[in-house]
């Protein structure tokens, strides 16, 4: 436990097989990954390669067939307070206001609402949702709903934030804005973030490290470092380093999808 304490997230030889009526489906095979405390990594891979399954395993929503996951050194045996998750859709509860939605983990985990309230309001302001606290989700745009979902995942102050294609349902412009906001959140909070995406652009813009996964059964086939200094801007994406990195990832992803 002492030697792994530097790792916020540690995945060892993870395998997952779904038993279905049509026979077993091997979703993940031999996935090993260490994520440093405070690191931002992206996982990119073809559709159906087991990315969402990986998120469910990390969040303790289902059990792996083999291997082990540790968050801050503690083996994952079920849901943990050390991790916060953001799904592809915001999954806001329509009967709760934005503030109440954001405070849902506080209610469920029985954290004192008064102390959490300050943090919630501060985070809401940080993502540009100040003034929308008493609105209902259906009164907000998709981008604003997803911002609220990110705040909700952070409100109980977990070490690790894992996001599963959080911008997939949004338009290109909103995606860019939200990427910039996620970068700012990350810079200001120092969280460890695992970002699952389909977009090479987003992965490169945001990450210290980009992990490429193969088609099913999902394996890690390549890994790219991105030491480009922060804060990054979208103009930086045109720089030679980042442009060539994107091409490399593109090629690797094409090979991964072909197999």
């Amino acid at each position: 436990m002492v030697e792994t304490s530097k790792e916020s997230l540690s995945i060892q030889d993870l395998g997952l097989i779904y038993q279905t009526s049509a026979g077993p489906i091997e979703a993940l095979r031999g996935v090993s990954l260490d994520v440093r405390d405070g690191e931002f990594i992206s996982i990119i891979g073809p559709s159906g390669c087991g990315k969402s399954s990986l998120l469910k395993l990390v969040l303790g929503l289902q059990d792996a067939t083999r291997g082990e996951i540790r968050i801050a050194g503690v083996p994952v045996k079920g849901p943990s307070r050390n991790a916060g998750g953001v799904f592809q859709s915001p999954v806001l509860l329509p009967w709760r206001t934005i503030l109440e939605n954001v405070l849902l983990p506080v209610d469920v985990m029985k954290i004192d609402r008064k102390t959490a309230m300050d943090r919630a309001n501060e985070l809401l302001k940080l993502v540009g949702l100040g003034g929308f606290e008493t609105r209902y989700p259906f009164e907000l745009s998709g981008g604003m709903q997803q911002r609220a979902a990110i705040v909700r995942a952070l409100v109980h102050d977990p070490r690790l934030l894992i996001m599963d294609e959080p911008f997939a349902a949004l338009d290109a412009l909103t995606r860019e804005q939200l990427s910039a906001e996620v970068q700012r959140l990350w810079l200001e909070s120092g969280k460890t973030i695992v970002f699952i995406t389909h977009s090479i652009n987003e992965a490169v813009f945001l990450s210290d490290r980009i992990i490429v996964m193969s088609a099913r059964p999902g394996r890690i086939v390549a890994e790219y470092k991105n030491p480009f200094p922060r804060p990054r801007t979208f103009a930086d994406m045109g720089s030679p380093e980042l442009a060539s990195l994107m091409i490399d990832i593109r090629e690797s992803l094409d090979r991964a999808s072909a197999t």
Binding site: P94, W95, M109, F138
Partner: protein
């Protein structure tokens, strides 16, 4: 709501927004009702139909006025309403709790489901005499009949609602270390509310039927008793007047349910995925 008036349109079109407004629609409905009553009165008068076969609207109105102004209708309606409301609340609560129990505890589901179906398939009219024997001519037997009538739709809809909760919502609360009970409280029950209200809306109607059936089979007071008495006396005008009272009550209860539903499920039907 379209309230645009196009100057170039013919005059009939300019009247449209009025007819489509709320008052316009009510006025329209009242107009049709007046027409129907007139036609009815004319047929009874022209064909000289005897009042013990089919009463004229004016005779019904007179009976209705007498019943209401003397307080007789209100007294009996009060008793029937009491049976309906108490039975409805009790039956709905039992249906709701049973539904929650059967969804959360698979064992309960296996044990209870056959009995619930068995009880439901027996017509309430067939059980009514038994209830009178066991619980007497007073309100208790009616309350039990009403409760049995409205329990089932609430139960079935509660089960359907709880089971159809979006799996992402379940994962959400489970990922927050939520217990089974917290998942139920924070997402399953609220998500099921539109279903539960569908059950309650059906339940209200069945509750009135249950109370009247109970009063037909054996009671001393209640609208059902008045209907039977008037029927025996061939006083069909009073029977019709009582039917008017009953349907007005049904419409009001139904309206009240919808009002509550709109307050509680204000979010229903608005997408926020």
């Amino acid at each position: 709501m379209s309230t645009m008036i196009d100057d170039s349109a013919p005059p009939e079109a300019a009247l449209r927004p009025l007819a489509s407004s709320r008052f316009g629609r009510i006025g329209e409905a009242l107009g049709y009702l007046a027409g129907l009553l007139l036609f009815w009165e004319a047929v009874v008068y022209l064909l000289d139909v005897p009042p013990y076969v089919f009463p004229a609207p004016r005779a019904v109105a007179t009976s209705l006025w007498q019943g209401l102004s003397s307080g007789t209708f209100f007294y009996h309606l009060g008793v029937t309403l009491f049976e309906v409301l108490i039975g409805f609340v009790a039956g709905s609560l039992i249906g709701l709790l049973l539904g929650i129990g059967m969804v959360t505890v698979p064992f309960l589901n296996r044990v209870l489901y056959p009995y619930v179906i068995a009880i439901q398939t027996v017509p309430k009219v067939a059980i009514a005499p038994l209830m009178i024997v066991w619980f007497g001519f007073g309100v208790q037997s009616k309350i039990i009949l009403v409760a049995m009538a409205c329990m089932f739709p609430v139960l079935v809809n509660t089960i359907a609602g709880l089971r159809s909760t979006d799996s992402d919502r379940l994962s959400l609360v489970r990922a927050m270390c939520g217990s089974r009970l917290q998942v139920l409280r924070y997402v399953q029950l609220p998500s099921a509310l539109p279903y539960i209200f569908a059950g309650l809306n059906t339940g209200v109607v069945l509750a009135i039927i249950g109370a009247i059936v109970g009063e037909f089979v054996g009671a001393r007071v209640g609208i059902g008793v008045l209907i039977l008495q008037a029927n025996f006396a061939l006083d069909l005008a009073t029977v019709f007047a009582l039917l008017v009272v009953l349907s007005a009550t049904g419409v009001l209860l139904n309206g009240a349910m919808h009002l509550v539903e709109r307050r509680v499920c204000f979010w229903s039907g608005r997408s926020s995925k």
